[in-house]
């Protein structure tokens, strides 16, 4: 489980290695506080959606031989789950809604969530392992992926905040220097390959 978590967090980082979830990576990383809020919301939804999609795949789609609808089923599950999570947070936790609320609708279109759900099926699910074992591994993979997402979002937003006050050429300001920074971070994360 620790290996699955670390692997998903550092080695196969969802943003810098798999290039999923790049929209929030570039769009919601201007301020550290926004990046932390977005990461929290992604972590929340990613773990729940991974567990739910794995369960639906293993207990509904495979037994009925309808695995070809997995992508559309996962999209609908994630979209419904985001709505459900938003309702629950609105009702029961004003504080959490204050910090995550505005980011929740954006997560419906976050391809990292769908990528993790699909990745769990292609890399973890097999008829040889028990449901509980696969379910647990899917949960820890989602946790690691979400932590990796949060780590990169926070690091990138901190760098962007410092870049705002840095003395850089006019043509490089904004997105150009951010993309160069993202490229350098991606190369840095390549150095972690081989740890596990």
């Amino acid at each position: 489980m620790v290996v699955a978590t670390l692997n998903a967090m550092l080695i196969n980082n969802v943003i810098l290695s798999q290039f999923l979830g790049v929209c929030p990576f570039l769009g919601v990383s201007k301020k550290s506080s926004s990046a932390v809020g977005m990461s929290g919301a992604v972590m929340f939804v990613m773990i729940i959606s991974s567990l739910v999609t794995y369960t639906i795949y293993a207990l509904v789609l495979v037994p009925f031989g309808i695995t070809y609808i997995q992508t559309i089923a996962f999209i609908l599950v994630i979209a419904s789950l985001v709505q459900l999570v938003e309702i629950l947070i609105k009702k029961f936790s004003e504080g959490l809604y204050k910090s995550l609320g505005i980011y929740l609708p954006l997560i419906t279109t976050n391809c990292a969530i769908l990528g993790v759900a699909e990745g769990n099926i292609s890399s973890i699910y097999s008829s040889d392992i028990t449901f509980i074992s696969g379910f647990t591994t899917a949960g820890f993979t989602a946790l690691g992926t979400a932590l990796g997402f949060g780590l990169v979002m926070f690091a990138f937003s901190s760098i962007r905040e410092r870049l705002d006050s840095a003395d850089i050429g006019e043509a490089w300001k904004g997105i150009p220097i951010s993309l160069v920074t993202a490229g350098i971070m991606s190369i840095a994360f390549l150095g972690l390959k081989g740890i596990i």
Binding site: I72, A73, L76, S80, Q83, E94, I102, L106
Partner: protein
């Protein structure tokens, strides 16, 4: 596509999931936003895409 239409269970599962989505969407719309969080939506500034109709689009 042929596979999808020939297997009623696939159609039923997709239809059920669509109904679940519509249900949760309507419920979410009817659930009021907490009073002190209303102004948060006026200050959002997402610049992730160019969809100007999105309520989260940065000004």
């Amino acid at each position: 596509m042929q596979n999808f239409l020939n297997n009623p269970i696939g159609v039923i599962v997709v239809a059920a999931l669509i109904l679940v989505y519509i249900g949760t969407y309507i419920l979410n719309k009817r659930t009021p936003v907490p009073e002190e969080c209303r102004e948060l939506f006026d200050n959002v500034s997402c610049t992730a895409c160019s969809n100007f109709t999105c309520s989260h689009k940065g000004k």
